[in-house]
Symmetry: C2
Subunit: 390 residues, 2 copies
């Protein structure tokens, strides 16, 4: 066996999504890309904002000695300060540069968090549906993912989290706005969760880990509540992938709530983990670029228009689609209980979506609306036909 047993097993499991990928390519080859409606991948299609290119141009022109060299494993000190200002504003809790670590995206951030806090056998509670890749990030470092149900509206069910807790619980991991549901967890739930973790953490700290790449992608004036205000032992991680449309560049950060017990030691551990996991540091040029772009985002209104177009179209076509408050996903109810069968049925109409089962949310399907309005409009008759022919 050229690979380890675990990797061999994981490759077999991962083959379902690979198969979907291949089906998409086959459909495009057969019918032409313009006749295939691919809503399977959350790869932002909007261009990065103009400020991104301006900053990149300026920084390449300025490039002096050391611009692309090593810096401390936590990142450039001035970049960390800039990030801290933005975190302070978002979280309504003052943090400084030393509370932040620049990372290779949020996926890198979560890996250094779990490497740092987990002892072998520790558990991390994750409300589902969720991004199932979390399971790998936890297991990589000897931990175990424990999924719990959310409410029917996909908001947190604190009593389920309470029931899942035991002496091995080390963290609760949430993402809001949520992938795949687009749900934003309301402030009172975060508050209640904070109280629960504080109580449970009296013997050993239980962290709230908040994965926040969609924090700024919210609609209709919804605000995402502060984590730091309500949960003393908390760590946020995020990336600029979605807000700046640069997921290929792998740039993000981790920020630790200054109220976390032993925050300084935790930060030292995160910095060590960033080094020893082989990230070493977040990419240098991108660190400098994002430090200049506080507040810049892609055109969020464009995503809002697409969401509304899709919701209207699918509802008129007869689908049951709850209204997402953020991110760029719609998590629709599968018209038949077997979401895998429904997703395969949609393929006959050249429509690609991801089954809810891929997010531990069976009975649903996920649409990523990082596509043009025209594609959305043209796809509605296909969705409609699929429903009629079930």
């Amino acid at each position: 066996m050229p690979v380890s047993s675990y990797i061999a097993e994981s490759m077999d499991k991962a083959s379902f999504i690979r198969k979907m990928f291949e089906q998409g390519s086959q459909l495009r080859a057969k019918f032409g890309a313009e006749n295939v409606f691919d809503f399977s991948i959350g790869n932002p299609d909007l261009d990065p904002p103009a400020e991104f290119f301006t900053a990149a141009r300026e920084l390449i022109a300025e490039a002096g000695k050391g611009m692309h060299g090593y810096m401390p494993n936590a990142g450039f000190p001035d970049v960390r300060e800039a990030v801290a200002l933005s975190v302070s504003a978002q979280q309504a809790v003052e943090v400084n540069g030393t509370h932040t670590v620049m990372t290779c995206g949020a996926a890198g951030g979560m890996n250094i968090i779990f490497k740092t806090i987990l002892n072998p056998g520790d558990q991390v509670i994750v409300p589902k549906p969720c991004f199932v890749e979390y399971g790998f990030y936890i297991k990589n470092h000897g931990g175990e993912m424990v999924m719990v149900d959310t409410r029917e509206d996909f908001s947190l069910d604190i009593s389920n989290i309470r029931k899942a807790m035991n002496e091995r619980t080390r963290a609760v991991l949430i993402t809001s706005p949520n992938n795949p549901t687009g749900r934003v967890y309301p402030e009172e739930q975060i508050q209640e969760l904070g109280k629960l973790l504080l109580e449970a953490g009296k013997k050993r700290t239980v962290y709230l880990v908040s994965d926040e790449p969609y924090r700024e992608l919210v609609y209709d004036g919804v605000t995402v509540p502060s984590i730091f205000k309500h949960c003393p032992a908390s760590i946020i991680t995020t990336s600029y992938s979605k807000t700046l449309s640069i997921p290929g560049e792998r740039i993000g950060y981790v920020a630790v709530n200054p109220s976390t017990p032993g925050a300084e030691k935790l930060l030292g551990g995160l910095i060590l983990s960033n080094r020893i996991l082989g990230f070493v540091n977040a990419p240098a040029l991108m660190q400098r670029i994002v430090a200049r772009l506080t507040g810049a985002t892609v055109d969020i209104e464009a995503y809002r228009r697409r969401r509304d177009l899709f919701l209207d179209g699918l509802t008129s076509a007869g689908y049951n689609v709850p209204k997402p408050e953020g991110a760029f996903y719609i998590f629709g109810k599968s018209p038949i209980p077997d979401d895998l069968a429904f997703v395969n049925h949609l393929l006959k109409y050249n429509v690609l979506v991801v089954p809810g089962s891929g997010f531990a949310g069976p009975g649903y399907f996920r649409i990523a609306y990082c596509v043009s309005e025209n594609t959305i409009i043209r796809s509605i008759p296909a969705f409609k036909k699929a429903l009629e022919t079930l």
Copy 2:
């Protein structure tokens, strides 16, 4: 405890190097940066070659849709093809794009390699002295580092490697030109190693993993032998950190020898590991830049001049310093057996070097000559005085 036991323990161990860092800062604050001779860090001071900035400017200007977006976890297909051409030339073995995976530097490369190939308890043999960070990369994924002695000239001692092998051996990890010694392992040793691994791998593949960031930094016409030609089951990993002076950008790759048994499955595993460890993919813009820069390097002749200046100066001052064939390190014999005591003694003369013990090579000290010729020249009297006052 805010962090895991393993991280807490590793933080304590890592504190020695942190202490050296702090001492350096204190010396600079006290005596002025120009009066402190810091040879402790291998952070290239030469500017990236002009081609780097040209490519960066052009790519930023061209930036169309998707330029900074997701791509396959292995990297952009055209970038992988460009890398394959360069690997084919260096290794004198034909590889194509599918044999390569773009990574976040060589440290990222090694982590995905060990994640992919190691079962719990597997051993990796590493000739010492070596970059001790390897121990973390191996242990991160359940493996165990087994160090073996090299010969007196720091070249490989194949019989020591043979003696260390057992049924748990999964790989041998080498780096040539070596950090810290600058030694280039001769072709007949690589050939002998290849035969040994082929024989040992009859039941289960035993890989040669070759970490090659210094391959192009060699002097006096020395060439680094091909790994792929002599070792059928082999994986190379490298970064552009040293050849292009961009260590902060975290860009490199892994290439698998097409003769490796189960090469396709191994590559699938590496790509999965790149994804699940949170690297996701190598930074997009840097991938495109390095693809345009095949063959470009920093001014290697500048490093050669520094090496010779240092060797002449230290030899005249009475030191025993073997001549390195590559990389930008000198591994000198400590004038007293206790290298830690000697390094502390040098500090009195404002000279910072790393004790050989930090590389599992006690009785030596490492100089990184990524500094100006002027600094080297001005440091020689300090080295001399330190020797006289021992």
